[in-house]
Amino acid sequence: MRIAWLYSSLLLAILSAFGQERCHLHLSGRVINAEDGSFIQGAKVSVGNRLVTSDIAGNYDFHDLCADTLLIECVYPGFKKLRYTIFLSESRLENINLHRDTCVMESVIVKGKKNKIELRRQQSISSEDLLRSQGLSLGEQLRSIEGVTVVQTGPTIFKPVIQGLYGQRVVMMNNGIRQESQQWGSEHAPEIDPFVFDRISIIKGAASVRYGADALGGVILLDQNPYRKKDGLEGAIQTSAFDNNQMLSAAGKLEGRYKLISGRLQASTRQAGDSRTPSYVLSNTGFQEYNFSYGLAVQKRKWGLDFYYSQFNTKVGILSAAHIGNLTDLNRAIQNEKPLVIDSWTRSIERPYQLVAHELLKAQAFARVSTWLKVSSYYALQYNDRKEFDKHRPYNDELASKNLPELDMRISTHQAQVLAEHNFHTEHYGTLGVFYAQQSNASLGRPFIPNFKSTTLAVFATEAWQHKRWQAEIGARAERKFIQVFYYRRNELQTPDHLFQNVAIHLGGNYELRPHLKLYGNLSTGFRPPHVSELYSNGVHHGTASVELGDSTLVPEKAYSASLSLPFHTKKIKGEILVYQNYIQDFIYLRPIFPSTLTIRGAFPTFAYTQHHARFTGCDVSIQDTVRARWVLKGKGSVVNSRLVPEREVIFLSPPARAEAELRFLMGKKKLNYPAYAQASVQKTFRKTEVSASQDYAAAPDGYWLLHLEAGFTRNKEKVSLWWSAGINNVLNTRYRDYLDRFRYFADATGRVIYLKCRIYFNQQSNHVSL
């Protein structure tokens, strides 16, 4: 209750701040095609010497205008240029109607996403942040979005957490395809090469209707830029070096277009040795990653074909000291201040380690059947092979000499979708889709999760309307999942099956309070069938020295998610405030059970998958203020309260509160858009409080402060653009342990990191993002 009060007063304060009359006038409105009433995106609108481009919904606007007679000019290819004057005495809406220029031949580029209404708030890593964070893994990059944290397994394995949820409940869309691997493991990082993507954005909260019933926590969208629009060749080379673990990364991209055919080839590698804390080496934490992808497309106005293939390969060392024999070993490791195994620094990776390969193949086609109907479809195939090597080989010499992985899981997934998008009228947009997926999982080596085959069939539809300042959407998805499981119990093959089906609903909308101030609201439901790991796990999890027991009677989780979001920007300040509540009925989690399981290796703490209602309430805030011409101050923070209800017990591994502030000084000529910068940022992570002692082996670590410094510059020439940056993370070499890092039981987090990064882009086409 107190929290709700806090949020509403915070919202009120912000709203009233905007309500105050300033002595600046606004002029805003839409650019409209006078013939059919559609909105025109990309039209140039100028008032005096100021120029803006209309956005996806045809909106344009100007701030800080003085009361005066103004000349408005509007141009868009294929339409007659419009010039007229108005007298501005107060802020007003002014729609601009453009008429087709009959003298000009049809030269308008048809945009695939014309008039698409933005209903779900998406937050993106800015193209600049994406560039600045190059060389890091995907999970680490996502941390730059407020409200996103990571569950970590040491310095190299990161899994994104959105609004307190992770793993199965966060869906990743890799180039439009749901990433399917062994997502259930908290030490299984997403098998995705971040160098492939030009845009990384997230949707917070349940987004089941469009992305799959299980997307209860949110969706991560990873996309590439559209192919070049003109014939030619372009490319980029990126490299970075980090001193702490002597990591080197290199990536290259080559893209070309000849008439209708476009192609793209990309490859990257990252290589690192052991990471270092301020006082010792984290032995066996190096990694080696090799990735590549290519795409080929034929694009015409009425139809197009697109083919894409990517491969991800990694070998990741696991901190030797974190591989635990039994409860006695675990307690000894926790009590010891340092890891029990510290060797001298090396690049080589020994047991224990993970060896993972992921392949994705996608074939996609679309056709514009008529002016109001577009049909697209894809087929995708994914193959994921995860091998985990324990610290010790088997005793049996014959087995040991084979050097086999102790866990070897292969999962293959076929997905197909047909989607029809209609656009009867520009103010009315809708989709109707059918999705089918088939998955098969088989393992060699020690059985941990059983083999299974599953099929998923889903039908979904959405309809969106736009009316004056309102946009609204309604959507529903019916999904049915069948799972058949294969495993041995007492030497006999068991083949139980499960059928789960349900409907997810989404209601969303936004209202434009005033130009550049929209209030978004969302109500969504979703359901997630239990994963085979939750139904049938039975065995020791060596990383955590615990026995995990599945429960084959689990029922699907049902989520009811509500959020309010208020993105705003004025001339100097921009930001966003988001409040949410996600209620999950029958939330599945691991609960400790007693007594511990007794085995020949000693006792193991035992956890069983159970269900209980849970509530996730939180708030994410970000703000950016141009304090003075060359000074930019950014701040962001997030807090989430995740509890079981009605007992109110805090859920294990829910993110502690975080806040970050960054001050940036821009250098160089204003005319060149300030090509250089220097900045300092501080990051505070609070201590996780109220955690229940029975859930955890060690108390939650203290909160900590980190200081980072960075400087960079860009140089754009006609054909080549160059970008450099250098920085220091954890400047003060602070010793700390993070609550969400599973290695906090054994070792400190990484110490100071000095890095140097660069990118060279040649022949860059203007429609691509650049710094």
């Binding site: 392949e359 195939l381 193959y383 092979d385 020949i600």
Partner: protein, 198 residues
């Protein structure tokens, strides 16, 4: 039910041919695995049994810690070690994988790798019960292995406990002295109840 049976193997062929151009990068040969034929856990290595044989003069007895279905599942069965007071026993520890037929004697491997392993013993809750290393039960560096421990009972009769631990210490096993139980990972940790009578 909408369940097609796409053979796993044909899928891999599609994958591999898709990557043909860049075949050099592609993964090594993949073994065939079908979800319908899961690995029987009884076909992987599992230490199921610790067999401890005690000899005193012409009397021999055996005690077992046995957990045939491994971690989880049914609870292990643990024998009570019954000993006589004021007696010295020579003993042998054998580790077995009884899921195999015939049972695989894993302790042979432990003896082969004696410079990487060591057994440790702790007695509790009863006075006078000691477990020590024999001088011949050592690795190449003369550091004990402890697979043939000497058990000596005292005057006290009653009930107590012995904890047996096998540590896998690899190259960290000490090269001198009597060993160090704080090093390495635990491969075995078993507590036997002990009953000493007159």
């Amino acid at each position: 039910m909408f369940h097609f049976n796409v053979p796993y193997n044909s899928m891999k062929k599609v994958m591999l041919s898709a990557a043909l151009v860049l075949a050099a990068f592609s993964c090594k040969k993949k073994e065939e695995v079908k979800p319908e034929n899961p690995v029987n856990p009884n076909e992987t290595e599992l230490i199921t049994t610790l067999l401890w044989s005690f000899t005193e003069g012409s009397n021999a007895s055996e005690f077992k810690f046995k957990d045939v279905d491994g971690e989880g599942g049914n609870a292990p069965t643990i024998d009570t070690i019954r000993l006589k007071a004021n007696t010295t026993y020579t003993t042998v520890i054998t580790l077995l994988d009884e899921t195999k037929n015939p049972a695989d004697t894993i302790s042979n491997e432990v003896m082969e790798e004696d410079d990487e392993h060591q057994f440790f013993f702790v007695s509790s809750e009863i006075a006078g019960l000691t477990i020590s290393y024999e001088s011949y039960d050592v690795d190449a560096n003369n550091v004990p292995l402890g697979i043939l421990p000497k058990v000596v009972t005292g005057n006290t009769t009653g009930i107590g406990k012995i904890k047996v631990t096998l540590k896998h210490q690899a190259e960290d096993k000490p090269k001198t002295g009597n060993g160090d139980s704080s090093i390495g990972d635990t491969d075995i940790e078993v507590t036997f109840p002990v009953k000493i009578t007159n």
